[in-house]
């Protein structure tokens, strides 16, 4: 499994949101996308998931253009946890997670015993079994995010795209979900691409970092290569100290007080 982007550009209006992006992502790796607000992180996720169409350039999955897949087949390849996790009608948590099986259930049939079993297993793993009969719109932001997460995992796709999927979770659940994702990257050979704001979490958990600035790829590689004081200054305009931390076995960023 490989995702390849070649010279991809996209813009909403006048300014370019993504400029001539090229890069490829391969199985068994955890990629993190970092960059300031408005640098095109979400747009990049939307382009890969096929939600947005690039103005120019190609996006290919296993050498086939994303748009050659039917919507349903694409939903069996790519699962997305988007930033917006509001649900407009009072579905129960269980119903929401069962929606993750939608691409596998044919139009007029009911979910099979296997589907139900998968849903229950994932609710258990994500620690939301006790919420299963609650209404989704009555939960807290972090709980709802875990439900959306479980729904995306339920899709059982080789590619998982996370757009600030941990933003409302407490540290316990953030680490639990990251552990879960990391494990599936290794065991199921998944591709995970995750947008992060926390540079230290990104550095600790991912195999590769993509640094975006104004829609351009500023750096792409392991955190040892990409996470430097110069790049952080250039991209975020903040002073920082970057050090290898032996507890997390990765570089960590500190922001000194003046």
């Amino acid at each position: 499994m490989e995702i390849r982007l070649h010279n991809v550009s996209f813009s909403y209006d006048a300014g370019m949101t993504i400029k001539a992006f090229s890069g490829s992502f391969s199985s068994g790796s955890f990629y993190s996308v970092i960059g300031p607000n408005g640098s095109g992180k979400t747009t990049l996720i939307d382009l890969i998931s096929g939600f947005l169409k690039p103005l120019s350039g190609n996006i290919e999955i296993n050498s086939l253009p994303v748009f050659s897949f039917s919507k349903k087949n694409l939903a069996r390849l790519i699962a997305v946890v988007s930033q917006d996790h509001t649900v407009n009608f009072p579905f129960s948590v269980k119903d929401i997670i069962l929606m993750g099986r939608h691409p596998y259930i044919s139009r007029f049939s009911l979910p099979s015993a296997e589907d139900i079993q998968k849903v229950e297993k994932l609710m258990d793993i994500c620690g939301i079994s006790h919420l299963q009969d609650r209404k989704i719109n009555e939960l807290s932001g972090g709980e709802r995010q875990r439900c959306v997460f479980a729904r995306a995992l339920c899709q059982e796709t080789p590619i998982l795209l996370l757009d600030e999927a941990f933003s409302n979770m407490d540290i316990h659940h953030t680490l639990q979900m990251l552990q879960l994702v990391k494990q599936s990257v290794k065991e199921k050979n998944r591709i995970v691409i995750s947008v992060f704001h926390d540079l230290n979490l990104a550095s600790t958990w991912s195999d590769s970092l993509l640094v975006l600035k104004e829609g351009e790829l500023r750096a792409f590689g392991s955190s040892t290569e990409t996470l430097t004081e110069e790049i952080i200054k250039d991209v975020f305009q903040v002073d920082s100290i970057v050090e290898y931390n032996q507890h997390v076995h990765a570089k960590q960023v500190y922001y000194p007080m003046h």
Partner: protein, 316 residues
């Protein structure tokens, strides 16, 4: 019940004779009663039930697509368009031709729908274009223009003003079998389309991105369901004038019982809508001393009920 009292046994005799005359027929049927039942009351009852079901279904579709439990079949200005069309037909005195008012109002409703979709659609970003905010805003703008147009038509209408006003208030009086067949065809088609896309409609409530990532072809599904909902509303308005609150209230109340799953919500809302409107029409026709327009009755009773539900829910 009604102005002419017909014993219930006679009603059954008439119905049996008409539906299964080959099996059994009654000899002593009153000719007037036969005409009253077959040509006046039955078409009225059936068209009323169908309009109730169609309005409720249309309400479910609009609330689902616009992600707004307060949307109704008239949110996109379909009713204003239909009313405008009807006013033109009345003013041009085409109403003698008997089909022209429904036909004009249907055309008016369809033109309004297409201008609303045209306004909110942007070719550059098709999925975001048909977002609920864009649609509601375009609907409000178009409806405002049209209602000013209706006021103008009323102003220049002279003596036909009362015809316009009565038409706008809605009524099932003097419905014919052709009305029943038209609404029935639209209702069946609308039902099959919406049941076909019921699960996609469920997923749309997760928001555009999530629905898309779960395999819903948003542009196609939204367009088809929007079209079905609006055509249903348009055909209802063209047959019976503007009947408010059924499309808003019924899906709401049914959702309390079935939950938000559209696969249950659609059929049950249709059934409840039919029963509710039939009940209301029977009250206006047979219980009240004078027949009042049904649109007035549904708004007068539905409005307060809605206020109560809304208030109760906010403080739950």
């Amino acid at each position: 019940m009604g102005y002419i009292r017909i014993p219930i046994t006679d009603i059954f005799q008439i119905l049996i004779t008409k539906t299964a005359s080959s099996l059994y027929s009654f000899k002593d049927i009153n000719e007037t009663h036969l005409a009253v039942i077959m040509d006046v009351r039955l078409p009225r009852i059936l068209s009323c039930a169908c309009v109730g079901a169609a309005l409720a279904l249309s309400g479910v579709l609009f609330q689902g697509i616009l992600l707004n439990p307060l949307a109704d079949p008239y949110t996109l200005g379909v009713s204003a368009g239909a009313a405008f069309g009807a006013c033109i037909a009345i003013i041009l005195n085409l109403s003698n031709a008997f089909v022209s008012v429904p036909v004009f109002s249907f055309i008016g409703a369809c033109l309004t729908l297409f201008s609303v979709i045209f306004l909110s659609y942007s070719p550059k970003n098709p999925t975001a274009g048909l977002s609920s905010n864009n649609l509601i805003l375009s609907g409000v703008i178009v409806a405002a223009i049209l209602s000013a147009g209706i006021s103008f038509l009323k102003f220049i209408a002279n003596e036909q003003v009362s015809v316009i006003i009565f038409w706008l208030m809605g009524s099932f009086a003097s419905k014919t079998w052709s009305n029943v067949f038209i609404i029935m065809i639209f209702l069946m088609a609308g039902f099959f389309v919406s049941i076909f896309f019921a699960r996609d409609l469920n997923l749309i409530s997760l928001g555009a991105k999530s629905a898309s990532s779960l395999g819903v072809d948003l542009k196609k599904v939204i367009f088809i369901l929007l079209l079905s909902g609006s055509l249903l509303a348009a055909v209802c308005v063209s047959i019976s004038g503007i009947i408010g609150f059924v499309g808003l209230l019924v899906p709401h109340m049914v959702r309390f019982i079935t939950g938000p799953d559209n696969r249950k919500l659609i059929p049950l809302s249709m059934l409840s809508g039919a029963i509710l409107l039939l009940f209301a029409d029977t009250i206006t026709r047979a219980v009240l001393p004078h027949e009042i327009p049904i649109g007035v009755l549904t708004a007068l009773t539905g409005g307060p009920v809605f206020c109560w539900i809304f208030k109760k829910n906010r403080f739950k």
